[in-house]
């Protein structure tokens, strides 16, 4: 998809400009940020403090910060094309990109667990402590399914399906507007104004959803990492 290339190029340009602004303020010792630099700081700090440090603590949060920042800004950028006139389709509304991001999250939380607990990570995940012995017949398959299969699958599906559903809603509203205004007769034309208003409202709602889904995707990745880092007790 051409849209994805455009989004990646835009993100690269934006982040080069932001880091250029950071470098300049370091070199000139002028620590009053410009308006552009402030926007970059707010965006980057949101992932750092509100997601990484809150869930993982300072040390582990900074360790996984590059991955989390990358995921957050890729998802925001790709989602927001869904409501930009002329693009109209989100880069994440085809399953390919969400699968790649979900696999990155999957590999990371298994890596985090293996690094901290070694092979005991798998036995901790599959055989949770404090369960009577016979119940492991029931618990272990469920834990395996939910931890190692459903986590990445729902991560990818949640993002894709939200974007598809949003796109379908917008298409429905605006094609209804087109139908009522140009192809229906008499008073039915008045319905067109209503459906157009709904379309506009849903466009604003989709903007919220774009940020929310990026937040949820990053938050879930963080929580999965945190769960595999947690000590058994």
């Amino acid at each position: 998809m051409l849209i994805r290339l455009i989004v990646v190029a835009t993100l690269l340009v934006l982040f080069t400009l932001v880091s250029g602004a950071f470098d300049k303020s370091l070199k000139t010792k002028n620590f009053v940020p410009s308006r552009f630099q402030l926007m970059g700081e707010i965006a980057l700090n949101f992932v750092r403090t509100n997601i990484a440090h809150d869930q993982l603590g300072k040390k582990d949060g900074d360790r996984f910060l590059p991955l989390l920042t990358t995921i957050f800004f890729i998802v925001v950028g790709m989602n927001i094309t869904g409501i930009i006139p002329g693009f109209n389709v989100a880069g994440t509304s085809l399953i390919g990109l969400p699968i790649v991001l979900a696999l990155a999250a999957y590999v990371t939380f298994i890596y985090a667990g293996m690094k901290k607990h070694g092979l005991k990570f798998f036995s901790n995940a599959l055989f949770p402590a404090g369960v009577p012995l016979p119940f492991y017949i029931l618990v272990t398959p469920i834990e395996f399914l939910s931890t190692f299969i459903l986590r990445p699958v729902t991560l990818a599906l949640r993002l894709t399906m939200n974007m598809i559903a949003g796109h379908l809603l917008l298409v429905l509203c605006f094609s209804a507007t087109h139908f009522f205004l140009f192809e229906s007769e008499g008073l039915f034309k008045a319905f067109g104004a209503g459906t157009f208003l709904f379309g506009f409202a849903f466009t604003l709602f989709e903007m919220l959803v774009a940020f929310l889904q990026a937040y949820v995707f990053t938050l879930l990745t963080t929580v999965y990492i945190q769960l595999s880092l947690a000590d058994e007790h």
Binding site: D54, T154, L157, R158, T160, M161, N162, I164, A165, L212, Y215, V216, L219, L220, V223
Partner: protein, 77 residues
Amino acid sequence: MDATTAAGLVGNIAVVGYGLAAVGPGIGVGLVVSKTIESIARQPELAGRLQVTMWLGIAFTEALALIGLATPFIFAA
């Protein structure tokens, strides 16, 4: 004569299926949000942390409805 034409209905039965699949997660998300509002009303100083937990709960619950939305793509004949 099969069941749908006997009832005088035309269209895709999958639409009804998705309607049913949306009921459970709808109730679930409602419960999650209502409990969060209740807790924030009791302890407003915890609002930030409760909201993060609320988003997590919504994300897990909502996944069921989205799996329902994805089934026609997965089981497409």
